[in-house]
Subunit: 319 residues, 2 copies
């Protein structure tokens, strides 16, 4: 949630001269997306989001993200659709950055999702997984087992400064996951970051999915595990079985889970909790105060990880 | 340019239940206004800015700002107009802050104003001064001589850490201003912060003035002096006489300056340069890295102050 790069009116005009969007009515930096700089752009042609890609998104990944968003939008998923310029290009250059224009989605994210929101998130996740079945491109998940191992090594020396015991928790959870991580589950392109922040609702109905910049190729059921982490815990740290059931059964109504996928959910949930614990702890330890972004609390995910370490069967999750 | 306070969807709904603006289509924190947290709010009734007042704006000043904006909007100035709730109130409470909804203005600010933009800024300033003639409320300018003296005392011990010689520059400029500051010039409510950031243009025409949170009672010509500082210097630090003439003559076309006002412009310009040098130096020295805002460069205003110290007559400004 930051505006890292400033864009002048003249730079904007030059960039927009490649498009047929008419005159600019409004252009405001918005506090959305920790990875990029986003602007709300209103022109005579409508409302858009203009994104400048900062260094955290690899330039070589941009064609994948653009193709993915175009593909799933065409398949009926409500997501930001890249708007091509007159030459058909969706990636341009603005203020020395790669930049793209997307359609604007109505709706607001919910802070405290209820079971009905969880169900709609689960349904949308299944729809996304069905929509990516015929998407040919792949992108490895840099934040799976090998990535976690590298992060554990990097942050181990200082992580107990955040909270005593974190180092031991990380190391033992990683060792357990190295043994238990599934080998053969249905794969595809997953969102990999479907937090409530990234789902918009309009009058109680899901109106769009945003922020696909962690999308990658992995087990489809791992996307559900991330969503269970992100949507189904209460503020006091307790796991809400009603919400988990709502999310998973709405998912299954669109795409039935194989027995192996369902059985793997507890270990996938453990992996997802470790993934967000590690990246949050890393971002807190390596926080650059000039980055204009507040680091998120890693301890929230230490609690979730401890919960999933004890909930070893799918029954313990209420599923 | 920061979002200091987060607002949940349920807090927003509760706040908007006092208004008749229909359902929320979009709600995004925007990077505008260093003093407050601003959101772009789109509802079935149109586009708005929702402002949360952070501690830098005194609660006791809010009724003045609201009355001023309503007054000048009614007089035809294009500015954010407070939107009253069903009970007629323009200030409510949201996320523990005072909050208000304003009409949204189209347009974008220009980074490098040309003479035509300077002329329009001058004309708008005169129109604003005419519009506030029959505005009864007053608000003392906390950033005039006594305020500068307090700031000089506060930052003197450390200001040369920013740049050697700054302390001596500040102290001698302040002493000169204490002797030369005018006593009797036409007064009224001024904007007091009319930087290019705070003026919107749509297709080359001025479409609105924003950010009135420094508005106060002072010499009308001091507002011109602030604008000459903010609009008429080039990136290399040189004063652009063409732009200054454009700004002042467009102002005079709407409101003729008295001889005393014109003669006072050089000293008022010196005061304005010192005012922004002091507040920027203060904000840099007392910068809180968690404030999510990049401090502005005080040295830009040290250069402008040195220029105005040498340009002692209105002729030296090309006016």
């Amino acid at each position: 949630m930051a505006v890292y790069t400033d864009v002048s009116d003249s730079e904007l005009s030059a960039f927009l001269s490649r498009h047929d969007l008419g005159a600019v009515l409004a252009f405001k930096g918005i506090a959305e997306g920790v990875e990029n700089t986003n602007f709300f752009l209103q022109t005579e042609a409508g409302s858009f989001i203009l994104t400048l890609y900062e260094k955290r998104v690899a330039e070589s990944d941009l064609p994948f993200f653009m193709a993915l968003l175009s593909h799933v939008a065409k398949a009926g998923i409500s997501c930001p659709r890249p708007v091509p310029d007159r030459a058909g290009k969706v990636i341009g250059t603005l203020a020395g950055r790669n930049a793209a224009i997307f359609t604007f989605l109505s709706g607001v994210s919910v802070r405290r999702p209820e079971a009905t929101h969880c169900a709609q998130a689960g349904e949308a996740l299944a729809a996304l997984h069905l929509a990516t079945r015929d998407f040919a491109q792949t992108r490895p998940n840099a934040l799976s087992l090998p990535g976690w191992r590298a992060l554990v090594e990097k942050i181990s020396p200082r992580v107990n400064d955040i909270n005593p015991g974190l180092k031991e928790l990380m190391i033992s959870a990683l060792a357990g996951l190295a043994d238990a991580w599934p080998q053969n589950l249905p794969q595809g392109v997953i969102h990999a970051d479907l937090f409530p922040d990234n789902v918009l609702f309009f009058q109680g109905r899901l109106s769009g999915l945003i922020d696909f910049y962690f999308a990658c190729s992995d087990f489809l059921a791992y996307d559900i595990a991330i969503a269970l982490n992100a949507w189904c815990f209460e503020g006091d740290g307790s796991f809400n079985i009603t919400k988990a059931r709502a999310l998973v059964s709405a998912y299954q109504a669109r795409r039935a889970l194989a027995d192996a996928e369902l059985a793997a959910l507890p270990v996938l949930c453990r992996g997802a909790a470790l993934r967000f614990l590690l990246t949050r702890a890393h971002d807190l330890l390596h926080h650059d105060p000039s980055a204009l972004v507040r680091p998120k609390d890693p301890m929230e995910y230490a609690g979730k990880l401890r919960f999933f370490l004890q909930a070893a069967s799918v029954g313990a999750l209420g599923l």
